[in-house]
Subunit: 211 residues, 2 copies
Amino acid sequence: MGNYVNLKEKAYDIIKNKIINLDFQPGEYLEEKKLGELLEISRTPIREALSRLENEMWVKNMPRKGIFVTEVDEHLLNDIFEVRIHFEPAVLEIAFSNLSSVKLQLFKSRFEAYENCDQSERDKLDNDFHLYIFNSVDNIFVKNMLNTTFEHLVRVRRLSFDKKSKERIAESNKEHIEIINLILSGKKEESVKAFRNHLEKSYKYYLEILF
Amino acid sequence: MGNYVNLKEKAYDIIKNKIINLDFQPGEYLEEKKLGELLEISRTPIREALSRLENEMWVKNMPRKGIFVTEVDEHLLNDIFEVRIHFEPAVLEIAFSNLSSVKLQLFKSRFEAYENCDQSERDKLDNDFHLYIFNSVDNIFVKNMLNTTFEHLVRVRRLSFDKKSKERIAESNKEHIEIINLILSGKKEESVKAFRNHLEKSYKYYLEILF
């Protein structure tokens, strides 16, 4: 019985990661029995993991049909970016004085050198930067709060992997560099505003390429 | 085994509510075995419930000492109000156009008539108003995100129940009425600003009376 928690956590982690990494595609039917066989985990911990995944919008239980991976539709994208546009700049505001100029300089160089990256490296850089801002806030509620939204964003990024234009990537890098420059020169308000602008542009762009 | 999830949820809900309602006091030692007897629930679901409560800052596991209810200290109060001051106004901004003027008028009358309430009714009114703003946002991430913070606030309110001055209560009611008036007259930016001011004042006041 002591191992039970671990099995549930394990099932939760594996299934979630498969959804984020698109091994389980949006809209895909997930059969409990097959999941159990695949993960070699019994049905009860699988069912509990699925119920948690449903709370976090990774799967949807359709009455009399079964459990499906959620689609990334306009509604979900709106929910993700509503949180990002309103809350990430607030997080930057809170974290502002905790940010390390050494680390920011490092991010800046990486964004400047992005043309040498392949796209998955570049996506990782983007994630790393936003996660760095989050994790600079020493507030347990904020951390708990933003994690799920961010993981959903990672799935959105993967879904748009082949659809992003070089122009938008270049522009997005410029926006990141601008934000970093503003932080480095101590301009809190301006950096928060630029961060918000960047997120609004990203939202518009994802709407364009995904739907 | 099917009942197992329910037992864990039940233990989680009961223990959390006892902490919020101060039946379990800040700093109190919680013995797993006694909790099990009190709730008539076996040890494993109790332990899982406690682990979730630890993630949400309701209890703290001290190595070699056991599990204790978290104290409401300056650090926790800071975490709660950091979230409130930065995120609740953002929520108002998102929810703005979903708010019903009928309901707002109703809240306004209740705040105006607060002198006829006893203090627990008045605290409930305050909670109801803030929850109404939250729940007007049709965004699953936002809802999941703010719940825990709000429940912590309810505990803070109970702890300061006997310490609040009539002056602060009167002032706080005025602030609520001002916010409602601004919303009713369609002044989004001003209402967001007034909401933020109100939260900053509350934070200062709780700091004063609690520590």
